[in-house]
């Protein structure tokens, strides 16, 4: 095949510069001593200090982590069941509506999801007295609802692309569906469930709009605090927060990449040994 065209290479260079320049600038200015972020005043860690001294941000960060861990775990369970229902259960009544309910949250504008959930919470409080207060619990319910659809899509694509012969063999040998799902299917889709969990965790910790609708007084998540600070302009301690998040995510991705590559090598060498 012929070499890549100059056009293609320059568009890609532009595209990657476009994706990374704002992030790099954010990191650079987080070390700037000046309050006005556009003027470089020398290296400083004062914004990191300000960040770690801000009780409001630390509290909101811990709340967000807690909500994300709980909602991602439940969303992974529900989303995996939904993926199984779509690939392993054949046809059932209401399947079309079900596939619609899985696809819709992927694109539904957040303002609509947030508003509709809030109206349900408020109405059900009026009718049956639950939930008494909006806050952590209602945010967790909202996050499970939209992120389980993402998990379902990830798990479903793994389920529909994988080799069914092991499951069929187990069934032929008299394995009951639950045992087969637990002993055969679950280990095979575990990597997809892990990426689903990470996706759900990220979506939850990142959500501003839906949480703003369904939260109550006293439960401000990290994005809500960040938003209230940045809506009036650039604030340097948020640059520091962004830098920390970017470093954690980058480190996580590198570690995951190294582990995956090592496992790949292990598998290859095992295959060579046995073959």
């Amino acid at each position: 095949m012929k070499k890549h065209s100059v056009f293609l290479l320059s568009v890609m260079a532009f595209g990657y510069a476009f994706l990374y320049l704002p992030i790099v600038m954010l990191i650079v200015y987080s070390f700037n001593d000046s309050r006005i972020s556009s003027v470089w005043n020398g290296f400083s860690l004062r914004w990191y200090e300000a960040l770690f001294n801000s009780e409001q941000i630390i509290d909101a960060g811990l709340l967000s982590l807690r909500i994300a861990a709980i909602s991602a775990t439940l969303a992974t369970i529900f989303g995996t069941l939904a993926g199984l229902a779509l690939t392993h259960m054949g046809s059932f009544r209401g399947r079309l509506l079900f596939t619609g309910l899985i696809a819709a949250p992927l694109v539904m504008p957040e303002v609509i999801t947030g508003l509709s959930l809030l109206l349900v919470f408020v109405s059900s409080e009026q009718l049956i007295g639950w939930p008494e207060n909006r806050g952590t619990v209602t945010i967790i319910i909202a996050h499970i609802t939209f992120s389980m659809a993402f998990v379902a899509v990830v798990v479903q694509s793994r389920l529909s692309s994988m080799d069914k012969s092991l499951e069929e063999a187990a069934m032929d040998l008299g394995g009951r569906p639950f045992r087969v799902a637990y002993d055969i299917t679950l280990p095979l889709i575990a990597p997809a469930m892990l990426s689903g969990w990470l996706l759900a965790f990220t979506l939850s910790i990142d959500d501003l709009v839906i949480a703003s609708f369904v939260s109550g007084p006293g439960s401000s998540t990290l994005p809500m605090v960040v938003y209230s600070k940045v809506r009036l302009g650039v604030t340097p301690d948020i640059n520091a927060l962004a830098t920390i998040i970017i470093c954690v995510v980058g480190l996580g991705v590198v570690v995951a990449g190294v582990i995956m590559r090592r496992q790949e090598k292990l598998r290859l060498s095992e295959a060579r040994m046995s073959g």
Partner: protein, 306 residues
């Protein structure tokens, strides 16, 4: 095996099947589907100063017909006040232009990644996905620093002498386009890449052997074959962008009222919940058709080659 013994595991199998289907189904019905019925119902009620600020869902004191119907005032108000029409139109225009920009940038990138050496392909793909794993809000915020009066873009333009006065970039429609293209670009590239990577290259070679020029091959073979990826990517950008709140609120001007922002303001600032519900209902009706197309492509791509 006697039938008596067999009936017990069959019951367990049915229970397992029932469990797998009904748990996610019931959850989505209760917390995703039924909420829309509430939005629909409340869009017909009157705003009142109370907690919650709308007339009760079912007012049994009225005669039987009015109990369920309520008022059409909110929808009448939507058609009378220009603000709402302009918001819907503006959102549609901004979302359409941003989707087009995403496609123009994302298609060559997805094509380049799909044709890259297999050793660096995964790295290139990872670099597209990586920003998505960092915070959406902070990526929008990063553009506030890029576009401000003394921000990076103005400084560079002044430094190379293209302008002597800083341009007003932040709080404009231009900033909204940048924000949407920046945050939604991965959603365009990923389905396009998934599609382009699977394309059968022998068709390209055949077209080239028959004397087609590279551009003709691209226009007549590559684009039609990647149409499912193009449609999926465009809908994945267009639909959420239409209801986007954060980007116009942080980067757009005071006058850049997209419908997501109008709804948010109606709800949080004016506390007119029934009117916000009416705005949401109309938006949902506008989105039903694009969403159904999206679901169709979602199903066809996820079923894949069996």
């Amino acid at each position: 095996m006697s039938s008596k013994l067999k009936s017990k595991p069959e019951f367990a199998d049915r229970t397992w099947r029932y469990f797998v289907i009904s748990v996610p189904y019931v959850w989505l019905l209760v917390f995703f589907f039924i909420p829309f019925l509430f939005v629909f119902k409340i869009s017909f009620s009157d705003p009142i100063i109370a907690q919650p600020p709308f007339t009760p869902l079912f007012d049994w004191s009225k005669d039987s017909f009015d109990v369920f119907l309520g008022t059409l005032d909110n929808y009448r108000f939507l058609t009378e006040d220009n603000l709402y029409w302009l918001s819907y139109l503006k959102s549609a225009r901004v979302a359409a232009i941003s989707t087009l920009l995403c496609l123009l940038l994302g298609y060559p990138m997805a094509y380049g990644i799909a044709r890259a050496e297999s050793t660096i392909r995964n790295l290139l793909l990872l670099l597209v996905i990586l920003p998505f794993w960092t915070s959406f809000l902070l990526r929008v915020y990063a553009w506030m620093g890029m576009l401000s009066t003394h921000g990076v873009i103005n400084n560079v333009l002044m430094w190379i002498g293209l302008i002597d006065q800083p341009l007003k970039l932040l709080y404009t429609d231009f900033a909204v386009y940048m924000g949407i293209v920046y945050t939604y670009l991965p959603f365009m590239i990923l389905p396009l890449y998934a599609n382009l990577e699977r394309l059968d290259l022998s068709l390209h070679e055949a077209a080239a052997d028959l004397g087609a020029r590279p551009f003709q091959v691209f226009r007549d073979v590559t684009i039609p074959m990647s149409l499912p990826g193009i449609i999926a990517g465009c809908l994945l950008v267009f639909i959420p962008a239409l209801g986007e709140y954060v980007i116009p609120a942080l980067l757009g001007g005071v006058d850049s009222l997209m419908i997501g922002r109008t709804l948010y303001n109606e709800f949080f600032l004016n506390r007119d919940w029934p009117l916000a519900s009416a705005v949401a209902t109309v938006l949902l009706f506008i989105l039903v058709i694009p969403m159904m197309i999206f679901q169709k492509y979602q199903v066809t791509t996820s079923d894949g080659p069996e």
